[in-house]
Symmetry: C2
Subunit: 406 residues, 2 copies
C-alpha cells in the first residue's frame, strides 16, 4: 500500500523517485495524486520526505486536491525556459533538472509514469548527462508501485467494494433484461420485434453502467458461440442471441470517480446448455473451486496456475504448460490483481514471483476454449484477502450456466 | 495524414519505426491500428513496407480489424521465452529483438507509443546493446506522428465533423436545460425544489453525452465565478448557479467509437451580465475575431498568439508575452490542434514551429481571467482548413453571453 513506498525505496536502493507524464491512464501519477484532475505533472519524492507535485499554474486548484505540496511549472522557470530554448521538450527537461537540484536530489533515482518510449529514452539519457549526481534508473519487473499497488489500504478496499457491488448489480440487470426478451425461431427478440443482437445488449449494458457511475471503455466482452472461444474477442455487435450457445460475459468496469476496477465473468447459455458446453462448464467450475479452496496467505501465486493446469490436464485438455502457445483448451493465466489497473499484482500465472498476502485483491478465472467447436467457458470472481488472511469473494453473483427464457 | 508517414520517415532519416505499449490513450498505436480493441501491441514498420501488428493470440480477431498484417507474440516465441527467462520484461525484450531481426530491421529506428519512462529507458538501452545494427532513437519535438496527425484525411474529417455536430447539440441541450430552471433568490433551482448546483448540471450533461455516444472523462469545465478565473478549474460540484456570474463551459468530449475529439467553450452569465464581465467578453470577442479573420494557409501558427497578445496588451491586460507566468489577464496559448488527442499540432502558441496548412483542425480560444475579481471569460471554436485552404468553423453554436432565465 501507499505507506510502503519509503520502505520499498529503501529495499531497492532508490534515493528518490520521479513520476511523470499526462494523467490519463497514468496509474502511478494518479495513485500519488489521488486522481487529482490535472492534465500532466511531475511528482518528486526524496526517500523519507513527502512528495511534491509540479503542475501547470492553471491547474493549481485541482492539484491541491491531491493533498500533496504543489509547485507550478512557472515556479521552476518554465515560461522563460520556453522563450530561451524555443523548445517545449528542452524547457521541460531543464525545468525538471532545476526542480531536482532545488530539492537536493542525488544518488539513484527511479523514473515512473507514462510517456512516449523514444522520448523518455532521450530525455533520461540527457538528464543523466546534465545531472551527474543522479544515476537514472527504471524498474522492469515488479516496480515499487506494482509492489505497493498489490496490497490495498482500508480506503482503497472501501472504493473497491463499492465498484464491486455496482458491477454485480449491472450484471444482474443485464441478465434480467435477457430473461424478459421474447423468444422465437431459437433466438431472442427485442421488444421492438427485431432480433436482439449483441450490440443491443451492449447498449443496454452501457446505460446501466452509466447509471451506476461506471465506465467500460467499450471493452466489455459479450461474446457468443465461436467468439466465446477466443478469450479477448469482445463479441460482434451484429450477432443474434441464439439459444443453447455459450455466451462469455466478462464485465470489468472502472468507477468514474475513484478509478478502481472490478472484474467478473459469467458464462451463460440461453434456454438450455448443450452437453459439451455443460461438461466444459462443470470442468471449469471444478478448477475454479480447486483454486478458491486452496488460496492461502504465504503461498506462491504461480502455484495456482499449476493447480489449474493439473485439473485441466487430468481432464485431457491442453494447457499453456503442456502446450505453450495453445489456442484451445486452457489458454491463459488463472488470475491477476486489480486496483487502479485492470491488470496488477499479484499475477497468478507462470513465472510469477508474487506471494499471496493480506490486502491483495485479485481475480480467479479458469476457462476452456474451443473456437473450432464453437464455444468457450470462463468463470471469474474477484477476491480480497483481509488483514487476517481470510479470503472473501467480491463477486456474489450466482454461477448458473443456463438463463431460463420465456 | 497517415499516408505521409513514409515521407516523414525519409525526411528524418528513420529506417524503421516501432510503436509499442498498451492501447489506452496510446494515440500512435490507435492511429495505426484504427482503434482496434487490443490491450497492447507492437507495430513494426520498415520504411516503404506495410506495418505489421504483433499482439496476443487471444486478441487476434480484434487485431485483424486494424487492417494490418497480424502476428502473435507466440509467433515470435513469447511463451517459451517467459519459461526460459522467468521474466516477462526480459521475454518481451527478446521477442521484440527476434521480430526486428525477422523483418530485417536495421539503421536508425524511432520508438513511439506509451510506456513507463524508466522501463522504456532500460528497455531501449538494452535493445540497442542486443541489436548493434539498430541505432535507437526517439523524437522529442514534433514527432513524425505529431506531423502526420496535424493534417487529416477525408475519413478523419468525417469522424471529426460527426463528433463536432453532436458536441454542439449537447451544449444546446444543456443551455436549454438551464433556461428551463426556475429562479429564486438570485439563483437557479432544480425541478425538485432544491438549488441547482454545478454537480446537477454535470450529471445532466453526462447523460446527454452518453446519449450521443460521447465521453468526457469527467473533465468538462463548468466553472462559475472565481473558478472561471482559473482556466483549468473544472468547477465545484457544490456551487449554486447564481445569476450575473460568469460561467466558463468548456466542452471537449471524445467519440466513444472513433476516438476523435471536439473542443468548444462558451462563457455565459445567467439573467444578466455585470459591466466588467460584459467588457471582458467584448474584448475576448475582439481577439477571437481578429485571429479568425487573420487565419490563412502558410502563416506561422505562433503569429496568432502574437496577434492575441497585441489585442489584449493594447487593452491593458497582462499576457504571457508581457508578463511570463502571469495568472491574470490572458494566461495561455490561443489554440491547439485536435484529433485523437485533445492537444495536437498545430500549436498556436509561443515557440511553435507549426505553419497553418490544409487538412488541419485546431481551436481558437482567447480568454481573460481575473480570479481575484471573481470572473473569467473564454470563447473557443474548433476550425478546420479544407483542401483549398478555406477556414470553416465546426462550432456553429451561438456566442451569446447572457442566457435569459425565467
Amino acid at each position: 500500500m501507499k505507506s510502503d513506498l519509503d520502505r520499498l525505496m529503501q529495499e531497492r536502493g532508490l534515493d528518490a523517485i520521479v513520476v511523470m507524464g499526462e494523467s490519463r491512464e497514468n496509474h502511478a501519477l494518479n495513485y500519488l495524486t489521488r486522481h487529482a484532475k490535472i492534465t500532466q505533472g511531475f511528482v518528486i519524492k526524496k526517500r523519507g520526505d513527502p512528495a511534491v507535485l509540479l503542475c501547470s499554474s492553471m491547474e493549481r486548484d485541482e492539484a491541491a486536491k491531491s493533498g500533496l505540496a504543489v509547485k507550478t511549472f512557472a515556479d521552476f522557470g518554465l515560461p522563460l525556459l520556453i522563450k530561451e530554448t524555443g523548445s517545449l521538450f528542452e524547457a521541460q527537461l531543464r525545468m525538471l533538472v532545476a526542480a531536482l537540484e532545488h530539492y537536493g536530489i542525488g544518488g539513484t533515482v527511479g523514473f515512473y509514469g507514462l510517456g512516449d518510449p523514444g522520448q523518455s529514452f532521450v530525455m533520461l539519457t540527457r538528464l543523466g548527462e546534465m545531472l551527474p549526481v543522479v544515476t537514472v534508473t527504471g524498474e522492469t519487473e515488479t516496480t515499487i508501485f506494482d509492489a505497493a499497488y498489490a496490497t490495498k489500504d482500508a480506503e482503497e478496499i472501501e472504493a473497491i467494494k463499492s465498484v464491486a457491488a455496482r458491477t454485480n448489480t449491472v450484471m444482474a440487470e443485464v441478465v434480467d433484461f435477457l430473461k424478459g426478451c421474447p423468444v422465437r425461431d431459437g433466438h431472442l427478440f427485442g421488444h421492438d420485434g427485431a432480433p436482439l443482437t449483441v450490440g443491443d445488449v451492449k447498449r443496454y449494458l452501457r446505460a446501466r453502467l452509466f447509471h451506476h457511475r461506471l465506465e467500460d471503455h467499450g471493452e466489455t466482452i459479450f461474446a457468443i458461440g465461436r467468439d466465446a472461444g477466443v478469450p479477448h474477442s469482445r463479441g460482434e455487435d451484429g450477432d443474434v442471441l441464439e439459444l443453447g450457445k455459450s455466451i462469455i460475459f466478462d464485465l470489468f468496469p472502472r468507477d468514474i470517480e475513484s478509478g478502481y476496477y472490478h472484474d467478473m465473468t459469467r458464462t451463460f447459455c440461453l434456454g438450455y446448455a448443450p452437453p459439451e458446453v455443460q461438461r466444459a462448464y462443470d470442468e471449469v467450475m471444478r478448477a475454479f473451486e480447486t483454486v478458491i479452496g486452496a488460496l492461502k496467505v504465504g503461498e506462491q501465486a504461480a502455484y495456482y496456475q499449476d493447480l489449474t493446469c493439473n485439473v485441466f490436464e487430468e481432464l485431457g485438455h491442453k494447457t499453456p504448460r503442456s502446450h505453450p502457445g495453445t489456442e484451445e483448451g486452457y489458454v491463459h493465466s488463472v488470475g491477476h490483481g486489480i486496483g487502479l489497473q485492470i491488470h496488477a499484482r499479484p499475477r497468478l500465472g507462470v513465472a510469477s514471483q508474487d506471494v499471496i498476502e493480506p490486502g491483495q485483491v485479485f481475480t480467479v478465472e479458469p476457462g476452456l476454449y474451443y473456437p473450432q467447436r464453437g464455444f468457450g467457458v470462463r468463470i471469474e470472481d474477484t477476491v480480497y484477502v483481509d488483514t487476517d488472511g481470510a479470503i472473501h469473494s467480491l463477486t456474489p453473483f450466482p454461477k448458473d450456466l443456463v438463463i431460463p427464457v420465456a
